[in-house]
């Protein structure tokens, strides 16, 4: 659309901090959460979950349960075995990957504590839950496999004896084999300095605030499912595949969804079971989980053991990078479980110019809740390991950690840059982001203060942590996903309906659950078509309205879905221009479009887009052969990922007597390319930081030796509250992405990916002079204290207390939280 004039900068919607359209119903309680649904005759399902992690089910007695008040149906796995199919895994990472059948309701064995073993449908939720207590299950215990290193030993007990191994798959990337770099073993052998570390990525729980909920309304000819899901389109496809219901007879609606963070990127047992029982009974059925159910059965995230080796010359040039991962799958392979660590494979080399690289990942079964996507999915893990070991290498070389990074990162004039992992980074400016971050942080002054406090033997030591991250997001080029054996594509779709009153309906295939797409997409359309922001309605999350889409995850919505919106708008304009030229009796080449108006160059003849829409709608006078209407749709499939980057700096004060850590200052300068709505972007950064910092300091899913999750409530799993988090100083640099016409890169995951290593690096930095070179996450006061006092095994490390209990005395320091252990 070469003749499309850009609006004046001040009139542009894109780039403006528009307040959100979404807020109106969210701040007044007029929301549409799935659990709010009430349908006539609706029944309620409750699930009985296994208290044991690994056992044979020898008997289930439901005779008392079926007699309970209000109960209509009680089913066990045997009752649905022929119907329930196997839950889908869409990412078989290798040809020979081992994958067990994944029943929604366990049939004869349970493989993790929390797995559903029986269900009750009753007239009320309370009656359904009451009846669960009357079901009697006999379990014959099997050996429990929890530890990954032991699980991969030759004589290990097996999670799935039928598979013959706990190793699901081993996935390797080798730069010498791929032709993207040299042989890493040779490179390391030739290196003057080699540093090796093992880092543990603890298991985390996504802990979206809205518990999952499903409502199914079956009718004889079609079935409607409302679900608190991030992925209505994928869900519809998979429900059809798993249950054999023709896809055109399934409608999935994701109404208001209360957060996801990857945790609702899933096809769940509960969705399948609610559908199965609703169809059997011919009545609407609702299932809503309790928080404990959510923590026991919704997928977890992270959980890797990372052995990482880096080589360098004495003058601080990196020479090679070798990564060996064990990744905990849990008991089953859910939707993208096996692929999560593989997403990290391309990110360990980060922003650095490694000449040689080898990545090996072994996916391991254990008797735990399955893992899957959690904000960042594979990339936070990779970023943590590389940013941590860069600090260790700096210490080994006696260099300032920022200095070491500068010596090795890709310079701004070296873009586009093809990395040792084979990706081509299109744009970036690491120097600019770092300079700005150092300035906001007062880097040099803090280093001076650190020296003084060390010299004075201050009991509260100051540490400075750095994370100069990049990430690959905007998932993703379909061709690349195919090459990685991912079963779906990575394109996104948008459609515009040009209504006769001049208003616009935009249909997007993305499925927002808090990100503000309705607002941001309205801004994009308003700019492109020159219509008022208020005149755009954005429709999403209902497969009958938005029939094509790949949903929201992987920081893809704007970088892929937003671009589809632009392409659809350009199609509308292209046709509108032809109609306008016809109506104004001008040559198409003489017609210009700006600010919602077509004009004929050199004349005063003008026609508003609204006039053209009406003309196209009534079709009284269109060019011969032209179809009426201006509606258009477009699908965008990117040819590259996008690569946000930034520099995060964290200053912590570590009390060497108690191990308590307090974040004194947190500064981040992110480059997410062009920005549609800076207010929304900043909010995404804040939330991302909160989750990344929480991994560093607070959160951990803990199992006891029997495989029982001991952090299955918010009283035990420490979700940070307002007193647990610092004020963040955020800023941006702006290097447009070259891979899409908006120049956008995506922001959803950046804060989470970047922040965790910045925090841990700062803690280790505070204690380095005391001989500390690592603190395992979460860095609770006890872990920090043990690191200082070399008390590894003698003192058990117990998880911290949960958040939100009002446990903090106002007079106490906020950072003392988590110190209840």
């Amino acid at each position: 659309m070469t003749a499309t004039a850009e609006p004046e900068a001040s009139d542009r919607e894109v780039g403006k901090a528009r307040l959100r359209k979404e807020d109106a119903r969210l701040i007044t309680g007029a929301t549409r959460w799935t659990d709010n649904m009430q349908l006539t005759g609706m029944l309620h399902m409750a699930l009985l979950r296994s208290p044991v992690a690994h056992a044979r089910i020898t008997a289930i007695d439901v005779t008392e349960a079926v007699k309970m008040p209000g109960v209509l149906m009680v089913l066990t796995g045997q009752d649905v075995a022929a119907e329930q199919g196997s839950l889908p895994c869409a990412w078989p990472i290798t040809e020979d990957m081992l994958a067990p059948p994944a029943p929604s309701l366990a049939v004869d064995r349970v493989n993790f504590a929390g797995e559903a073993v029986a269900l009750v449908v009753a007239r009320s939720a309370a009656e359904a839950h009451d009846a669960l207590a009357a079901i009697d299950v006999d379990y014959d215990d099997l050996p429990v496999v929890l530890d990954m290193e032991r699980a991969v030993a030759d004589d290990a007990d097996l999670v799935h004896p039928d598979l013959g191994s706990n190793k699901s798959a081993t996935w390797i990337f080798d730069s010498a084999e791929a032709g993207t770099g040299a042989d890493v073993d040779q490179a390391l052998a030739d290196s003057e300095v080699v540093v090796e570390r093992t880092f543990r990525q603890q298991r985390l729980i996504p802990a979206f605030m809205e518990p999952r909920s499903v409502v199914v309304d079956p009718s004889p000819d079609s079935v409607t499912m409302w679900s608190a899901t991030q992925v209505p389109h994928i869900l519809r496809w998979m429900l059809s595949a798993v249950l054999g219901i023709p896809e055109q007879q399934i409608r999935v609606i994701a109404p208001d969804v209360g957060g996801g963070f990857g945790g609702k990127l899933q096809v769940t047992p509960e969705e399948v079971l609610t559908l199965v029982v609703a169809r059997r009974l011919g009545k609407p059925v609702k299932w809503t989980e309790t928080r404990t159910e959510s923590m026991l059965s919704a997928h977890h995230g992270r959980d890797q053991l990372q052995r990482i080796t880096v080589g360098a010359s004495r003058d601080g040039k990196v020479t090679g990078l070798k990564v060996d991962l064990l990744a905990d799958m849990g008991a089953y392979l859910r939707l993208v479980t096996p692929g999560v660590p593989i997403l990290g494979a391309f990110m360990f080399n980060a922003i650095y110019k490694f000449p040689a690289y080898r990545f090996t990942c072994t996916n391991v079964f254990t008797n735990k809740v399955p893992t899957d996507a959690y904000r960042g999915a594979g990339r936070p893990e990779a970023t943590f390991a590389i940013e941590r070991i860069m600090d260790e290498l700096a210490a080994e070389l006696g260099l300032d950690p920022m200095d070491l990074r500068e010596r090795n990162w890709i310079k701004h004039d070296e873009f586009p840059f093809t990395t040792v992992a084979g990706l081509t980074y299109d744009s970036g400016h690491y120097e600019a982001a770092t300079d700005r971050a150092k300035e906001l942080f007062g880097y040099d002054a803090l280093r001076r203060e650190q020296s003084e406090r060390r010299a004075n033997g201050d009991p509260v030591q100051l540490g400075i942590g750095i994370s100069t991250y990049t990430e690959m997001c905007g998932l993703a080029p379909s061709r690349v996903l195919g090459a990685l054996r991912y079963a779906a594509g990575g394109w996104e779709h948008a459609a515009l309906r040009m209504l006769p009153t001049g208003k616009v309906e935009l249909i997007t295939g993305t499925s927002p659950h808090g990100q503000g797409h309705v607002t941001a997409w309205s801004q994009i359309v308003a700019d492109r078509l020159g219509v008022p922001f208020e005149d755009v309605e954005v429709l999403h999350g209902d497969t009958r309205v938005s029939h094509r889409g790949m949903d929201s995850y992987g920081s893809r919505s704007l970088a892929v879905g937003g671009v589809a919106v632009v392409l659809a708008a350009d199609k509308v304009l292209a046709k509108a221009r032809t109609v306008a030229a016809h109506l104004m009796e001008a040559g198409e080449g003489d017609v210009e479009f700006a600010a919602g108006k077509f004009t004929v160059r050199g004349t005063s003849t003008a026609l508003s887009l609204g006039d053209v829409v009406v003309a196209a709608h009534v079709a009284h006078n269109l060019p011969d052969g032209m179809e009426p209407g201006l509606d258009a749709e477009a699908t965008f499939d990117p040819d590259n990922f996008s690569y946000p980057h930034g520099t995060h700096l964290c200053a912590t004060e570590v009390d060497t007597r108690t191990g308590a850590v307090k974040i004194r200052s947190y500064v981040c300068v992110d480059d997410v390319g062009k920005v549609v709505n800076p207010m929304i972007v900043e909010g995404q950064v804040h939330g991302g930081l909160a989750q990344g910092i929480a991994q560093a300091l607070y959160e951990e899913a803990v199992h006891d030796e029997y495989g029982t999750l001991t952090t299955a409530t918010l009283a035990d799993y420490l979700l940070p509250s307002a007193v647990d988090l610092p004020h963040f100083t955020t800023d941006r640099t702006e290097t447009p992405a070259l891979s899409n016409p908006l120049g956008v890169k995506g922001v959803g995951e950046a804060g989470t990916i970047a922040s965790t290593p910045a925090v841990v690096n700062s803690i280790v930095d505070a204690l380095r002079h005391m001989g500390v070179d690592d603190v395992e996450m979460p860095c609770t006061p006890m872990r920090v204290w043990k690191a200082i006092n070399r008390r590894g095994d003698a003192v058990p490390t117990t998880p911290g207390a949960g958040g939100g209990l009002g446990s903090v005395n106002v007079d106490d320091q906020a950072h003392a939280r988590g110190g209840a252990e």
């Binding site: 007044t28 605030m209 957060g259 309790t290 409530t713 009283a715 307002a722 958040g803 903090v808």
Partner: protein, 181 residues
């Protein structure tokens, strides 16, 4: 048991099971689905409402305990088409993303401002400590509450809610039902 509860200015008389939690009564019987349930342990605060003008976690109050009392939910804050200043401030400061914690957060913020009309950042953070948010990192929530405080001096409680001012006399910062602090 038969109870009568005034919710957002309307009297409701219902037969309830003694075990029914106030939040379930509000949601399931009265259709007040603006108030939500986020956990089982009174940690998250998503269900926060006001009971006789004080914030409570409505999952920690039995419906029968609300008999004869006055409940205000997020649905009862707007007056004559005008949002409450705290609602406005949440919108203006982008203090919500998914919005699930928002009703409870707003109700707790109003309670906080009734106790302390001009809180500093630290006091806001402590005042909201019993309400969890997974999206925002709290920064914009803190900003919104302080912004609202500026907009609505000298305090929100009696003006914002349909509660007799007399009932607020002698109000203490210790709340029933696990409210915020």
């Amino acid at each position: 048991m038969r109870i009568t509860v005034t919710v957002d200015g309307v009297d409701y008389s219902d037969e309830v099971e003694p075990r029914t939690l106030l939040v379930h009564h509000l949601r399931e019987r009265l259709g007040k689905t603006g108030t939500v349930v986020g956990c089982d342990t009174s940690n998250c605060g998503a269900c926060t409402v006001h009971l006789d003008g004080h914030s409570v976690k409505s999952c920690a109050v039995l419906a029968v305990q609300a008999d004869g009392r006055e409940v205000t939910t997020v649905e009862g804050l707007a007056r004559e088409g005008r949002l409450h200043p705290v609602q406005q401030a949440f919108h203006r400061n982008h203090a919500l993303q998914c919005g699930f914690c928002t009703p409870g957060m707003i109700m707790q913020a109003i309670d906080l401002l009734a106790d302390n009309p001009d809180p500093d950042e630290d006091e806001v953070r402590h005042g909201l400590e019993g309400n969890l948010c997974r999206c925002t990192g709290y920064q914009n929530i803190v900003r919104a509450v302080r912004d609202a405080a500026r907009q609505m001096r000298p305090g929100a409680g009696p003006d914002a809610e349909r509660v007799d001012e007399a009932k607020l006399v002698g109000r203490t910062p210790t709340h029933t039902g696990g409210g915020g602090e």
